[in-house]
């Protein structure tokens, strides 16, 4: 009897093929309703912005002197009209094109540039590390809002200038995180083992380092997207980002300020879009962080 039990315990179980890290992450994400909801909102915003011309909306550039400042819910104008009589719903949806592009693209570029700089600094160490990281320190001496405004202010308004200034703002923090995780991984025994076996620096980085440092860098980069959105719209709000008459949420918020006493809630609408997007980006980043088991 005892024998039988023992054998049943030791009998080989059916071994399932172990699932990879990413399938675990995907599984945890799908079971997190708040994160999935935020993902859906962001996806809906991006898709409606991309496919705006096919949604049967009014022309976002065409104004009308007689239809100025229609209130929210006016017949034919579900969200009213702005100070030049342009359809607000159309402008808000079209506005997502520039706002989301300028709000997300700098983090994407900074993610690649910062990862390359930080991994290089962390892995190579020595003088290379000193040069890269001390330069990064200088950029940390500026509050991010101030740096973005300073560069955009000097370069002047324009979409490309906004992209450049925001990218410069976000490269240093990403570099710093990438350097920290890389020099942590660099000290581990398996890196020494790989180097001792004669692997070149490039091979060690490609095979052993990148896979282990990319997820914390990625999660950190996603946490910056919300700040970047707010800053990008903020630059346009100040008049040093996107130029009129382009529909862009920050710029719309700026031009509608002049009618705040005429139709107050209408002038707050573009800000609602910025707020919802930035909130969803933050929640999405938090969800990713816990699904990917990244600790601060």
């Amino acid at each position: 009897m005892a024998m039988a039990e023992a054998t049943s315990i030791h009998a080989p179980e059916k071994v399932e093929k172990s699932k990879g890290y990413w399938s675990g992450v995907g599984h945890r994400l799908v079971r997190d309703p708040l994160t999935m909801f935020c993902l859906a909102v962001i996806a809906a915003l991006i898709l409606s912005a991309v496919f705006a011309p096919y949604l049967g909306l009014a022309d976002p550039y065409k104004g009308s002197m007689i239809a100025r400042l229609k209130p929210i819910g006016a017949p034919g104008y579900p969200l009213g009209t702005d100070e030049q009589g342009r359809d607000m719903l159309a402008r808000l949806i079209y506005g997502g094109r520039l706002t989301l592009f300028i709000g997300l693209m700098p983090v994407v570029i900074a993610f690649f540039a910062g990862s390359i700089l930080g991994i290089t600094a962390g892995y190579v160490g020595g003088l290379t590390n000193t040069i890269i990281m001390r330069t990064v320190d200088v950029f940390f001496a500026f509050p991010s809002v101030l740096l973005a405004i300073a560069i955009s202010g000097a370069l002047g308004a324009g979409i490309v200038n906004s992209l450049v200034s925001l990218t410069i703002v976000f490269i240093p923090p990403i570099t710093r995180v990438a350097e920290a995780v890389t020099s942590g991984v660099r000290k581990l025994d398996y890196i020494d083992a790989a180097r001792a076996s004669g692997a070149s620096a490039w091979t060690v980085i490609r095979v052993h380092v990148i896979g282990n440092v990319l997820s914390p860098i990625f999660v950190y980069a996603t946490s910056l997207t919300s700040v970047c959105m707010i800053l990008a719209a903020g630059l346009s709000f100040l008049g040093i980002g996107v130029r009129p008459p382009e529909p862009e949420w920050g710029l719309m918020l700026n031009t509608l300020r002049s009618v705040i006493y005429v139709n107050p809630w209408l002038s707050a609408l573009p800000g609602v879009m910025i707020f919802v997007t930035s909130l969803c980006l933050n929640l999405l980043s938090d969800g990713l962080r816990s699904a990917m088991n990244v600790r601060d």
């Binding site: 001390r134 330069t135 320190d137 200088v138 950029f139 001496a141 500026f142 509050p143 991010s144 809002v145 101030l146 405004i149 300073a150 560069i151 202010g153 000097a154 370069l155 002047g156 919300s226 707010i230 719209a233 903020g234 709000f237 100040l238 008049g239 040093i240 918020l253 300020r257 705040i260 006493y261 107050p264 809630w265 002038s267 707050a268 573009p270 800000g271 609602v272 910025i274 707020f275 930035s278 909130l279 980006l281 933050n282 929640l283 938090d286």
Partner: protein, 317 residues
Amino acid sequence: MLSYLIRRILLVLPVAFGVSVICFLLVQIAPGDPLTAIMPIDATAEEQAAMRAAYGLDKPLPVQYAIWIGNLFQGDMGKSIASGRPVAAEVFGAVKNSLLLAVSAAVIAFPIGIFLGFLAGYFRDTWIDRAVTALSITGVSVPNYWLGIVLVIIFSVNLGWLPSMGAGPGGSQSWAWDWAHMRHLLLPAVTLAVVPIGIVSRTVRALAGDILSQDFVDALYAKGMSRADVLRHVARNAAATALSVMGLQLGYLLGGSILIETVFNWPGSGFLLSNAIFQRDLPLLQGTILILALFFVAMNLIVDVVQAAIDPRIQRT
């Protein structure tokens, strides 16, 4: 402590140098000739060359930088192109107003942030924790320039309780500690406080939660210490980190208030900065950014030193 202080100050010098280089280069990346703003359009080539020489613009960049930084050390930051007044006078006048706004926002934000964060950390995984977490993530996600507009809509447009712009009655530029001026300060200070409330409460929540789960807390309870005394120990352990986060936030408030100052027409450094940008007043732009960045560097230095004074463990790293 003294050796730590000296070491820390020596570390600041290269950063301050780097900051000055970036501020100097800001003017160089600006498109167009800096002279076009001050020269008449029909100026001849010789007149332009004379002007160029007078401003030292014909010299190589490193020489120009050396001249600029030399003047800087004598308190000369050049003259504003738009107003003709010395940049230093303009900037310091405006920074005073910004500092007032930033400190007011900090006075509102820090106690609330600490209280909420501690509450959430103490009652981890209860509805209180979830409510505070929701509040703080909303706080860090809200575009504060929009929040300022919403508050103006509610309190100025609809209710008519508070003024919507300026720093005092009748567009007054100077501050006074009376109700007429305080009314003007209220909306911008509250608006500016929202982001740091979110960040401070988030930090304190994580700190309090971590410290409360450490063994020494159980040991203190086990030896019969009262709840209030235990919490004092917890607070002392959290103080260094919490202070450093708050110091940084104060720096961000000063450097980041430009959007809020624009919304409320607050006559501070941000307002000066946006005027400088639109009038292409590059010396003023350069000077304002330099002063604000150096303020931020000094703030970081003070935070580090205070932190090391509170927590001796930091001095050894």
